[in-house]
């Protein structure tokens, strides 16, 4: 009995070794000289094949970088650290320090703050709920069904008790998949060193906003008047911060009557309850 096992082992090992030798010879004979930098660049790229750079996977990105078709800092996931390594391999210098970006959910109207007008019982997906108009009085606010959380390949998002998604700033790689997943366009990529944010995307008039949500932007322009850096402007009844000009002074957040503007430092941007 054991001889059958031995013979099987020996014969298969023999065949395997023979084929291995053939492949090794073929590999040497048919070797294709490729740019060695492709492998090096691929080695320092994150290797998650998320496609956020616009190329189908890290290998394709590495090939494009080696050819000079893609910028050395083209990997949004790797950020500055990876860009520096890639630039070193490619022998080019990085232009300026590009800021690290993180995702920001621009809605503060959770269960405690926003008025709900309906109970949604459909598919557990924001894009499906959006077709029906959602369950909140506010037509601009977060639908709370976590499509962005499900889209995040890095586990950098979770839903808090208030029914709003929260971004883990340290884990976020700014790949932008959550931005695409949100049917209400609530998520934006913002510089991670900025911590004064307008957490509202409602273009409704002040009266409508107040009836729907306790923390909505009513377009009162108090922030615009108090800002010394010309960094916040109210257009179409909604305040928006120009992050290139903002200095994180936080004066706008102090005067905001509805607390739609928040100051938040730290790893998680958690919206304050309206009462506080």
């Amino acid at each position: 009995m054991s001889s059958v096992v031995l013979v099987s082992l020996a014969s298969m090992a023999g065949v395997g070794i023979l084929l291995g030798v053939v492949i090794a010879m073929a590999h040497r004979k048919f070797a294709v000289k490729s740019d060695p930098r492709i492998d090096e660049v691929e080695g320092v790229l994150p290797g998650v094949n998320c496609g956020a750079c616009g190329y189908p996977g890290c290998r394709a990105m590495a090939e494009a970088i080696a050819k000079g078709e893609a910028p050395v800092d083209g990997c949004p996931v790797g950020g500055a650290a990876v860009a520096a390594l890639v630039a070193k391999i490619m022998g080019v210098e990085l232009k300026g320090g590009s800021r690290r970006l993180v995702a920001l959910v621009r809605c503060g109207g959770g269960r405690a703050e926003a008025r709900e007008t309906a109970e949604y019982v459909g598919l557990d997906d924001c894009r499906a709920a959006q077709l029906l108009g959602g369950n909140k009085g506010c037509q601009y606010g977060c639908l709370g069904l976590a499509s962005c959380v499900k889209a995040c390949p890095f586990n950098a998002m979770f839903m808090n008790d208030n029914g709003l998604p929260v971004v883990d700033k340290e884990a976020c790689t700014a790949c932008g998949l959550c931005v695409k997943a949100c049917p209400r366009n609530l998520i934006a990529l913002v510089p991670d060193d900025m911590y004064v944010h307008v957490l509202c995307r409602s273009y409704d008039t002040g009266r409508v906003v107040r009836s729907n949500c306790q923390v909505g932007c009513i377009g009162c322009k108090a922030c615009e008047r108090v800002c010394e850096d010309d960094a916040i402007h109210v257009t179409d009844l909604l305040a928006e911060i120009d992050y290139d000009k903002c200095t994180n002074c936080g004066k706008c957040a102090e005067v905001c009557p509805t607390k739609a503007i928040v100051i938040e430092e730290g790893r998680f941007l958690v919206t304050k309850k309206a009462a506080s």
């Binding site: 059958v4 013979v7 099987s8 014969s11 298969m12 023999g14 065949v15 395997g16 084929l19 291995g20 053939v22 492949i23 073929a26 590999h27 048919f30 070797a31 294709v32």
Partner: protein, 193 residues
Amino acid sequence: MGNLALTFIGAVLVNNFVLVRFLGICPFLGVSKQIDTALGMGMATTFVMVLSGAATWLVEHYILVPFGLPFLQTLSYILIIASLVQVVEMFLKKTSPALYSALGIFLPLITTNCAVLGLAIMAAQQNYTFVETIVFALGTGVGFTLALAAMAGIREQMEFADIPKALRGAGITLITAGLMSLAFMGFSGLIAM
């Protein structure tokens, strides 16, 4: 000699692997959009088939049968086919990068193409001689190429046809494949195997 010719014709038409035996359908539907790539795929597969036919015959008659190890047939055949595909892949990458990228994932997938394994097992079951096995493999490969090229030709024409919206894409392709299969069934009885 006449026997070999019959084996060849039989493998190409009467028992066409794709259209009559329904083996190797994956590349038949996947790489049949353009005649050029279909021909390339057919040739690559034919090459693998002939090589693996020869290699499996040697293994069958010099290792498996003498040592009484028929249960290792599938295992050793897969091993051989996978290795040969590796070699073909490297060969194509070197000689024809355009074809290499056009074939894409379907090239390594020849490894798991049931037509290749089916050919090797059928040749063993029929107790073909070495020469017969090679001719059978060549015929099978040519039949495979023929089916792919014919399908690609039809699909190229269909690009301009006014196909009902619901049938566009996979639907009309499968219907075409079925009609082609019916046509090839007409060859049965051409020669008595």
